[in-house]
């Protein structure tokens, strides 16, 4: 029902984020409607009328205070429910990182994404590294590990369709992962104010099928087979 609010989700864990959102939405939404309805009802029911005196209720006795203690206890229980559901989803995303063969390093730099591929040897800083700007190529249905860095200020690597957002902090190396479930070309955005060109810091995530990815690899590393054999 609410699906059209979000960008479509194409990551394995995006659904977990969305479902925690819906859980909170329904709990909070029902509470919100009940609360506002009660206020409206009180306002109409207890509007000033001639000859009608207000009741003297100061809420200092336990029997009166129960009127706010019981709803508060319900709020507390619902809070804990939301916390536990959230903890599970968070653990699935930020807990153990799955083993991945595809590793890329993304470095934010005013106002571009510098994307480093380690090449067939899987090691950064060797001759077969490949550097591109703003275009990130990854295979579909494979866990991808990103190593996030920044050269100048804080940027934030945001891929809405993956439900992935991670700040890139200069001086730190931060890892994040995702596994896309659909092929296509999607936008990467910078979500942390990084200067006057912040809004132009746009990149593309190309999610390729197994065959297309193999083709892309052999196009960029033509002598892969001979080297690795």
């Amino acid at each position: 029902m609410l699906d059209h609010w979000f960008p479509k989700n194409i990551s394995t864990y995006g659904g977990e984020i969305d479902s925690v959102f819906y859980l909170i939405f329904y709990i909070v939404g029902i509470g919100f409607l009940l609360g506002e309805a009660a206020i409206f009802y009180f306002l109409i029911r207890y509007r000033r009328r001639d000859g009608k005196k207000a009741a003297f209720v100061n809420g200092e006795r336990w029997s009166q205070a129960a009127w706010i203690i019981i709803p508060t206890a319900i709020v507390l229980v619902l809070d804990l429910w939301i916390d536990f559901a959230g903890a599970q989803a968070y653990d699935a995303i930020k807990g153990e990182m799955p083993v991945s063969e595809t590793i890329v390093q993304v470095t934010g730099k005013q106002f571009n994404w510098i994307i480093n591929y380690p090449g067939p040897d899987g090691i950064f800083g060797t001759e077969d590294d490949l550097t591109k700007e703003n275009d990130l190529y990854v295979p579909v249905n494979k866990a991808v590990k990103t190593i996030l860095k920044s050269e100048d200020v804080i940027h934030s690597f945001f891929v809405p369709v993956l439900r992935l957002k991670q700040d890139m902090v200069p001086g730190r190396t931060i890892e994040a992962w995702f596994e896309a479930t659909e092929t296509g070309k999607y936008e990467i955005a910078c979500a942390e104010l990084c200067g006057y060109g912040h809004y132009t810091m746009r990149g593309f995530l190309h999610i390729l099928s197994e065959e297309d990815y193999a083709a892309w690899v052999s196009e960029n590393w033509p002598d892969t087979n001979s080297e690795s054999n």
Partner: protein
Amino acid sequence: MTEQKNAENGHSEELSFWRKYVFSTDHKVVGKQYLFIALFMAILGGVMAYYMRWQLAWPETAVPGAGWIPEPTAFGGIIPPEFYNALTTMHGTIMVFFVGMPFLLGAFGNFLLPLMIGAKDMAFPRLNMMSVWTLFLASLVMIASFFVEGGAASAGWTGYAPLSADPIHTGVTWGLNLWILGLALEFTSFLMGGINFLTTTITMRAPGMTMYRLPLMVWMQITAAVIFMLSVGPLIAGAILLLLDRTVGTGFFIPELGGDPLLWQHLFWFFGHPEVYVVLLPGFGAIMEILPVFSRKPIFAYKTIIWSTIIAGALSFLVWAHHMFVSGMDPRLAMPFSITTILISVPFAVVIFAFMATLWGGSIRFTTPMLFALGTVMTFIVGGATGIFNGSAPVDIFIHDTHFVVAHFHFTLFPDVFLGGFAALYFWFPKMFGRMMNETLGKIHFWVTTIAFNAVFIPMFVLGLGGSMRRVYNPLQYDFLKPMQGINEFITYAAIVLLLGQFIFMFNFFWSMFKGKKAERNPWNATTLEWSVSYPIPHDNFATIPTVYHGPYEYSLPGNKSDWQPQHEENEPVSG
């Protein structure tokens, strides 16, 4: 005794114009000075919001009414990205520190606190005068920062390092130094104010005014003052370190020099979250005075409210890292902070339920202050409820730094500062200026403001869920945001209505000040001490210090003929 009183009155009449209205030590004059600073700065903040909203709806077109801004800040009304970033930064800074705090703490805290506790003035009147003039200076420094070369600060109101730590990243030089200086002066001002609030309340209460007979407005003011004093220290230290990084080449927040950018975020948010409650509580305090008066009922669960807000204040020191779920801090920290954050909804739920229970069984009169008070409660619920989404660490991964967050905090602070502040102003205006504000205009102002406010910020939640990032100069840059551009345009129309609606208030405010209906001493039949003195209130407030016999909210006491029992009258009033 009488002679002495006359002598004092005579003395106060002899004060020169300057000592009476400008460099005054009278807490009532100081309070009004805070009020005018806050209202002036609110106009600035509002105009900035208008410029930003125009840019977001119709990017890179000339903003009507911005043609006067000289190059290179703007170009014939077209706002460049540098200026846009300065606008978002300064709008946030001004609205939180130069409107929210002066309006709710400065103006109403100073004006009401001594009157409500039955004191002749603040404990340190000269310090009080110094605090408002320090704020005045801070405001000048902030405004001046727009006119220096390189423009005003543009690193966000949160001033994240290293963007803020080295001028090379933004091109802003003295603008950001002045921003730090202006904030430091503002902090100093409110530290002096807080010392005064606390000392006055502890030592100068009238006989019989026990702590549990204090009006809740006073409780909220001193709780806010304590929270502010305990939290601001780390940020003052952080601000000095940041200034050193910028000016003398230290590297506290610059990684190449061995510093850590996340340190700034910890220092900022350790203060930043408690600061929200510093602004929130006094606004709630006003609501807590107004709801009982117009329901003719005691506030529900007085002591429980006091302790809930104190608990919320204490918890607010344990939640700061919820602003940093995606910052790169250890992910294991996220869940503990997520739990404390969501738990903080419990004491606030108590307060909101107490507000609702206060209405139950009442005899409710829909005056302008009451409408604004009810509007505050009913809109704040949205702000509180949407906080649960941000507080949930996994959901925050997606909505962090989107317009969802922007809509959320406007739904907490706008009802509190503006709806609550307006409620307070309409309510205490007769005591401040001796006249009533016009009710019809007040009600029109209320409906325009609340409807337009909701029209601005409810669609903004939808934008945020669509992934729309905050602080983006031109949303059309992204294909995935283009389909939502209609929402941006709608929000801007609504924002223009919201801002234009405030002209109704401004007219009513100034017109009523001079031409409004003369107010009776106690036009709302309220029980607290400030209503026991007549306008104009002499410099030392009370000819004789009143003795307090009752709690602050004794409305509709069983057995009483009238429905109110003033705090300072031993027996029920003859006329009611």
